[in-house]
Assembly symmetry: C2
Homo-oligomer: 456 residues x 2
């Protein structure tokens, strides 16, 4: 945020707070109408809960369409909180002004009672559309598509298509592609608004449309759909059902949301937590989400303790060995994280493909081999000259570092590739699992080597 933006924002906030104190809700709505919905949503962060509610109620009662636009810019959790403050009628007006896919996203997060109550207050067509979307699985094309789109029959002429588009209100989701369907809604082709302008007015759309349409299906995963849109540089993608009937469209702004969401999901998962944490501010929720992986990590740690205790004899004789445990585990952990991060991201963006399993693992292991030799030598020499350890201990820690880095690279690259091949999201079980298991293996090797190299 630039200094100028920050200043504008603080001036605006000041006026808004003053109007709220005076209870001038009409003026509040007027003031906000000068800003884009995304900016109003951002402003909500700077208001306290009471102010936020007052503003939203004012908006909802005076301008439900705009309240809906602001609502869709908020995260689901914040949105539900505000909806809760509205009375039944206001809520129905705002929800009715949302596109069915946005409404479905919010409703899917409500409890059963709230959901029923709300659906009953909506007009029957809206409620039916939303119910229909909710029947599709989460994160599928069917769930995120907008069932209100613009399509024409194949026999329509260019001029007729333009007139039809002009007659439609502002509610057209994708106003730059015209989809062409047959009598039974089967998707036949697509043409852009610009193509439409280039043909003779009397020409049938079926003569100029592109028939090779990239489409999604209702049961396709949203990540897969986003990949298609990005790959083919589309502005929107039509969604068809099992009979290839056009049932909805997904516009590029929703695709961008999916791309961001999926990247965030991978960041959170790699760190051993869940993207649910993003939506809920509660500390206890975060604790609950992080407990499982940290528990696995604790169990691994206790296992490592057992291994070390098993070698107490060695440690008692050469107590200096304990000092090298952190560096050997730390370096292994770092390179394991590098491998798994690169691979999880590569798989997500399509740059790495599952069938490249061996090439990818081999590459990471070679990198680890070179780095391991470099750092093993450095650590050995550093120990020898700085910490004045014996040559055999220097050899031991150098070799152990190399071994730890090799194991980490092998494990850190093989695990995500194998998970992905088995159809499991490689980001889920990667982060803490790799560091913990590499810890145990590296420690065992370290002490076993110690028995061989350092004890007489």
């Amino acid at each position: 945020m630039s200094a100028h933006e920050a200043q504008t924002r603080s001036v605006l906030l000041e006026s808004l707070r003053r109007l709220l104190r005076r209870g001038a809700s009409g003026h509040v709505v007027n003031l906000l109408s000068k800003f884009r919905p995304a900016d109003v949503a951002a402003l909500f962060k700077d208001l306290n809960e009471r102010q936020r509610r007052e503003v939203f109620v004012a908006l909802a009662s005076r301008d439900p369409d705009r309240a809906a636009l602001v609502l869709r810019e908020l995260n689901v959790h914040a949105g539900l909180e505000l909806l809760d403050v509205l009375d039944k009628e206001q809520r129905a007006m705002v929800m009715g002004a949302l596109t069915p896919d946005d409404a479905a996203e919010l409703i899917s997060e409500m409890d059963e009672d709230g959901r029923q109550e709300l659906l009953e207050t909506l007009r029957s067509r809206e409620a039916r559309e939303i119910r229909h979307l909710l029947e599709y699985g989460e994160e599928t094309g069917g769930r995120i598509m907008n069932p209100e789109f613009f399509a024409v029959k194949e026999t329509v002429t260019a001029a007729e298509a333009i007139t039809a588009l002009q007659d439609r209100g502002a509610e057209v989701e994708v106003p730059f592609y015209i989809y062409v369907v047959d009598e039974r809604q089967h998707l036949l082709g697509v043409l852009s608004l610009r193509q439409l302008l280039l043909v003779r007015p009397g020409e049938q759309v079926s003569h100029t449309m592109t028939t090779d349409v990239v489409s999604a299906t209702t049961d396709m995963d949203q990540e897969e759909i986003a990949r298609l849109v990005a790959r083919y540089d589309l502005l929107a993608i039509p969604v068809v059902d099992g009979q290839h009937r056009l049932v909805g469209v997904i516009a590029i702004d929703d695709i961008i949301d999916v791309l961001k969401e999926e990247a965030t999901e991978d960041f959170y998962r790699l760190a051993g937590t869940s993207e649910d944490e993003r939506l809920h501010r509660s500390v206890f929720r975060a604790v609950r989400l992080r407990i499982p992986w940290l528990l696995a990590s604790l169990a691994g740690g206790l296992l490592a303790s057992q291994v070390i205790n098993h070698y107490q004899g060695v440690l008692t004789k050469v107590v200096i060995l304990a000092g090298f445990i952190p560096v050997i585990l730390g370096m292994g952990g770092n390179i394991g994280t590098q491998c798994s991060t690169i691979i999880v991201r590569g798989l997500a963006t399509g740059r790495i493909e599952i069938r490249e399993l061996w090439r990818v693992i081999f590459r990471e292991v070679r990198i680890a081999m070179i780095l391991g030799v470099i750092y093993g030598t450095l650590l050995g020499l550093g120990g020898l000259f700085l910490l004045e350890i014996s040559p055999s201990v220097a050899l031991l820690i150098g070799l152990s570092l190399l071994a730890s880095m090799l194991i980490a690279a092998l494990f850190g690259s093989a695990l995500p590739m194998l998970l992905s091949r088995m159809g499991v999201d490689p980001a889920v079980a990667t982060g803490p699992l790799i560091t913990t298991s590499v810890d145990v293996m590296a420690i065992a090797i370290f002490f076993q080597l110690a028995v061989l190299l350092v004890l007489d």
Copy 2:
């Protein structure tokens, strides 16, 4: 990739390889013309180097426009490799068919000689446009914009604008927004193609245009631009210079590339390497990129060794303590990574803002406090009953685990927030730096507590 896609691909590859063996390059080009550029680019991965070159030369000599479309779907490194195989004339044809921004991206990665030679072979207008783009800094609006766009003067009528658009060839970058400028190219407003269809043909565009245009500047960072486009759900963003003159546009497909690239950059940086690794397959390059952070990590490790050696007296008396080093460091490392990942990603997506410094740190520390008490108790009890350690050692490891997690959360959240406040990319110095410094601090606390609690 579905089973069907995989099958189609393998059939296609078979035909392609057969045609190449027969030297039927005309047929190769025909076969490839049935596929989208992105699919042809993906196919290149399955060809060996010789085949890939043959196919690209065939494409470039028979259909340079299509070769250019394929070229822009490849990563820069692969693209430069293929351009190298073409003769001077073919190369000029293919580069001339690229949009100036795509050409500039490739040329910026060439060495000085190759760059000069190529620019000399291009037509003077193209070369001038590309040189001009290259004057802007990397990853700025000026560098990634397309200087060929469609704009009309304010006095033009809707009908005239439509005719002007029809007269332009296929090269219009953003065919769904019409930008309106004054005599001196100052950006005045924008209207969508659809808005244009809704007004009377004789109406001046200046009467219906939106004057409140979201625009980028030539020196704006591409990440910031992508954030604007995503925030306001735009399909393209106009780029203006210091005098607010319209000098280019950036379409949504390039914005999607930026979003993906920036997320990938953050993934790589968090893991302690650089996104350059993505572009180059060389193992040695990867080694070079990873060396600095691992070196920092090694230095930290040696420091930790020193700390442990300092407490050799304690270790000699209670050798079982060594066994708890991995779990205390590992749990700290995990929670530190969680904090820094959540914050780096939150800052990148705009969900967390820099001014929320204290709220964010406080939240992470509270989470760590709860988790630390839970896991500290579990570890203490686990040690007491499973490993049969003394109550004072159990107390020691429980408290040390709590301390390690608290320090990690504090450090893991404060460091990225402070870096970001100082204008440094928080992803750069985060990953290995946090784990390493938390290691040293946690070890020092562990042994100091040991002196207090366990020694008589």
